[in-house]
Symmetry: C2
C-alpha cells in the first residue's frame, strides 16, 4: 500500500488561522476595542427574493410524489444550462448546451479538472495567487512555474514566450489583487497558449464585478479561446451562493489533443465521480437569470461596489498605490513605508483596530502588499476606511 | 501537453441508454402497451415532512442578513456531524467528530478518495459491481483484480488469502445483488485487509434497508476495522436525498501508513478541492435524525420493503433463485432456462411489458442474472410482479 506522497509537499494552510489567532489575542488584551474586519472573503448580504422564491417552489415540488425530483443529469438540468448559454449570448459568446457543466463550486472543478491531464505536465501559475491552483498541482506532483505579478506590471503579467508550459492559470478579475485584464492582454495570453499547445484554465468567478468597458467578462470574448480555454464561473460572488453551492464550467468541444476531446473526457469524469447539484439549488440559480433576479443581484453587487469605492477613496486620499476595487470586490494595497505585510497587519490591528489579509499569504510577490475586501456592511466599511485613512495620513506626516 | 490517456481504457456507459433505446422501440411498435419498470434505481417517494420543514427554515434563514450562511466548513457543520456520530453510537460504534466528513454524495467520495493513494496500488473489486469502483480506478491507470461473486458463494465471496492487493472494495448490502454480508464474513474481510496492509473501501449506502439481526450496518461493528476501513454512507436511499445530495464518509484516525494519516490527508483534499454541502441541505440531513424524521423515513423505507417482499414472493412462487430483497431494495434473480440477461430482458419486455436491468451490465458474472428494484409504486410493483410470476410459471409448464 502506497499513499500519494505528493501530499507531503503541501504547506499547512495557516493563513486564516494565523489571522484569527492574532485577532483573538488582541481582543483578549483589549476587550473594549471595536475591531472591524476588511478581510472578509465571503459574501454577507442575504439571498435575493427571486432566489428565495425559487427555493421555496423547489422545496414544495420535492415534498410531493408527483413533482419529486431524484437523480438529475450529472452535468446539470437543461433549464439551467440553457439560462447560462443565454447569459453568454447576451455578450456575443455562442456556446453549445453540452459545453456547459453545472457543478457545486469553481473550487471543486478547478481541482477536479486536473484528473484529465497527465501529471508530467508543467503548470504556469501567477504569484500572488488563490492557493488552490498551487495546492491541487502539488497534490498531483506537477512542476509549477510561477509568473511574476508585481507592481511594475500592475499585477497583470503578460506571457514570457521563452517559457514553455502545458497548463496556464489566469484569474481575472484577480483574487487577491483585484486587477482585471484588458481584451488585448487576454488576446496575447490566448495566442501564447495556442502557440505552446497548452490549455488555459480561466477563473472568471468575479466577472460580475466588472464595471469598465473593454474588460472581458469571459475568455470566450477572445477569438480562438474556444480551442484552448476552459472557463470556471460561479454563482457564489455573483448572487451570494457561497452557502448554496452552484457554479459552472465551460469546456468547449474545440479543445482536442492527440485525438481526445476534453469535453467528452470531462463529461465522463463528472458522470463517474459526481452526481449533480441539488435540484432546488439549480432552480435557485436559474432564478438569478430572470429579469427580477438579475435586477436584484445587481442591487447587491452595487452595495459591495459602494464599499469598494469607499476603500479606494481612503487609499487615494492617503496617496497609497493599489490595484482592484473598480472591477473587483478586492483592493490590493501596497504596505506603507518599508513594512512587510505581517508587520502592517499588526500595526493596522493595534493602531486602528482594522483587520485585513497579509499579501504574503498569497505568495512571494504578495509580501509587501495587503488585501482588503468589499464584503462588509456599509457602516463597518465606512468606519474602517476612515480609521485606515487617518492612520496612513498620520504615518505620512511623521515621514 | 499530455492528457490522461487512461481515459481511453474506459468503456462507454451504454447500459441505461441501451435499455431506454429498446424500451422506446417496443413502445413505438406497441403504442397501447402499458410498460412497467422494475428497473428504477432511484427513489420515488417525496421528502418526508421533517426534512421539508428543515429546508423551509433553512431557506428562511438564508433570506435575512442576520441569519444568512455563506461558506461553511468544508467537512460539514458540526451540528450534522454530531448527529451522524450519535447515529453510530446507537449501534455501539464510537467515532470522533473529526472522523466524519459530510459531502455531496457517496459517488463523489468513492471517486475522490483515490486521490490519496498511489496509482501503482492494486484494487480488488467484486464482480458484478457498481461500475463506479471499476471506472474510477481505470481512470487512474490502476490494475484491478476481480473477486468472483457467483451463485456458488451466494454472491458473497470471501477473501482469497493467496491474492495480494492494496485497495479492497466491498458494498453491503450490495448493488446490484442485494446480498448482505454477515458479521463473521466481514470479520474475515477485515482480517484479510489488515494482513495485506491494504485499505478497505466499504460502501454502506444501503445500510438502512437491513432488517436481519447479525447483518452489520457499519463496518466499524467489526473489531479493528477502524485501523483499515473507510466507510461511505448516504442520505440518498435512507431518506430519499438522491435529488438533494448529501452523504458522509468516515475516515478513522487509526488509518496510518508510512507516517501519513489518511484522516488528515482527506481533510486536506476536501478543504482544497471541495467547498462543502449547502447549509439548507445539511439542515435537512440533520432533521432526518430527529425523532419525527427517523419515524417518517422509516415509513418510507417500509413502503419500499413491501415492494421488495412482493417481488420476492413472485420469484418464490415461480421457484426462481434470487438474492437480496430482505436487506436491500434490489432483487437479483437468475434468468430462467438458458437465457442470458439481455435475452431475458427482451422476453420480459415483449411478453409481460416489464422492464428490469440485465446483469451483464454489472460485469462478467452478471451475465445470467437480472436486477429488479423496489423503488416503484405499490400498484405498479404488484402488477409487474404478477405479470412476471405468470410468465415464469408459463415457461416452467412448457418446460
Amino acid at each position: 500500500m502506497w499513499l500519494n506522497t505528493h501530499y507531503q509537499a503541501l504547506n499547512e494552510q495557516y493563513l486564516f488561522s494565523q489571522i484569527a489567532r492574532r485577532v483573538g489575542q488582541y481582543k483578549e488584551q483589549n476587550p473594549s476595542a471595536r475591531v472591524i474586519s476588511l478581510g472578509i472573503g465571503d459574501v454577507t448580504r442575504p439571498l435575493v427574493p427571486a432566489v428565495v422564491e425559487a427555493l421555496n417552489r423547489g422545496v414544495e415540488e420535492m415534498s410531493k410524489a408527483e413533482t419529486f425530483h431524484g437523480y438529475g443529469p450529472e452535468q446539470g438540468y437543461p433549464f439551467l444550462r440553457e439560462a447560462i448559454v443565454e447569459y453568454y449570448e447576451r455578450r456575443g459568446v455562442a456556446l453549445d448546451l453540452d459545453e456547459v457543466f453545472v457543478s457545486d463550486g469553481a473550487k471543486s472543478d478547478l481541482g477536479n479538472i486536473l484528473d484529465l491531464f497527465h501529471q508530467e505536465n508543467i503548470a504556469l501559475i501567477p504569484d500572488p495567487v488563490y492557493p488552490v491552483y498551487v495546492d491541487t498541482n502539488l497534490m498531483a506532483g506537477r512542476t509549477i512555474h510561477y509568473i511574476k505579478a508585481v507592481k511594475e506590471n500592475d499585477f497583470l503579467p503578460l506571457p514570457d514566450w521563452d517559457v514553455s508550459c502545458d497548463l496556464v492559470y489566469l484569474c481575472s478579475p484577480n483574487n487577491p489583487t483585484g486587477a482585471a485584464y484588458s481584451k488585448s492582454a487576454l488576446t496575447e495570453w490566448v495566442r501564447y497558449t495556442i502557440e505552446k499547445g497548452a490549455v488555459l484554465l480561466y477563473d472568471a468567478a468575479y466577472e460580475s464585478f466588472i464595471q469598465e468597458d473593454g474588460v472581458p467578462h469571459s475568455i470566450y470574448e477572445i477569438p480562438e479561446a474556444n480551442t484552448c480555454a476552459i472557463e470556471f464561473c460561479s454563482f457564489s460572488k455573483m448572487a451570494g451562493f457561497t452557502g448554496l453551492r452552484c457554479s459552472w464550467t465551460v469546456v468547449p468541444k474545440g479543445l482536442r489533443f492527440g485525438g481526445m476531446g476534453l469535453n467528452s473526457m470531462w463529461l465522463r469524469r463528472q458522470t463517474t465521480k459526481f452526481n449533480g447539484v441539488p435540484y432546488i439549488v439549480q432552480r435557485a440559480a436559474q432564478a438569478v437569470f430572470s429579469p427580477e433576479g438579475l435586477e436584484q443581484v445587481e442591487a447587491t453587487l452595487s452595495y459591495y461596489r459602494e464599499n469598494a469605492a469607499t476603500i479606494q477613496q481612503a487609499l487615494e486620499q492617503a496617496g497609497i498605490y493599489y490595484t482592484g476595487g473598480k472591477n473587483s470586490p478586492y483592493i490590493w494595497m501596497e504596505c506603507p513605508g518599508a513594512m512587510d505585510s505581517w508587520q502592517f497587519f499588526q500595526q493596522l490591528l493595534e493602531q486602528a483596530q482594522v483587520v485585513g489579509t497579509p499579501g504574503a499569504g498569497f505568495g512571494e510577490n504578495g509580501k509587501g502588499f495587503f488585501r482588503l475586501t468589499a464584503f462588509g456592511s456599509h457602516e463597518d466599511t465606512k468606519e474602517a476606511a476612515e480609521r485606515l485613512e487617518k492612520l496612513l495620513l498620520q504615518w505620512k506626516e511623521r515621514g
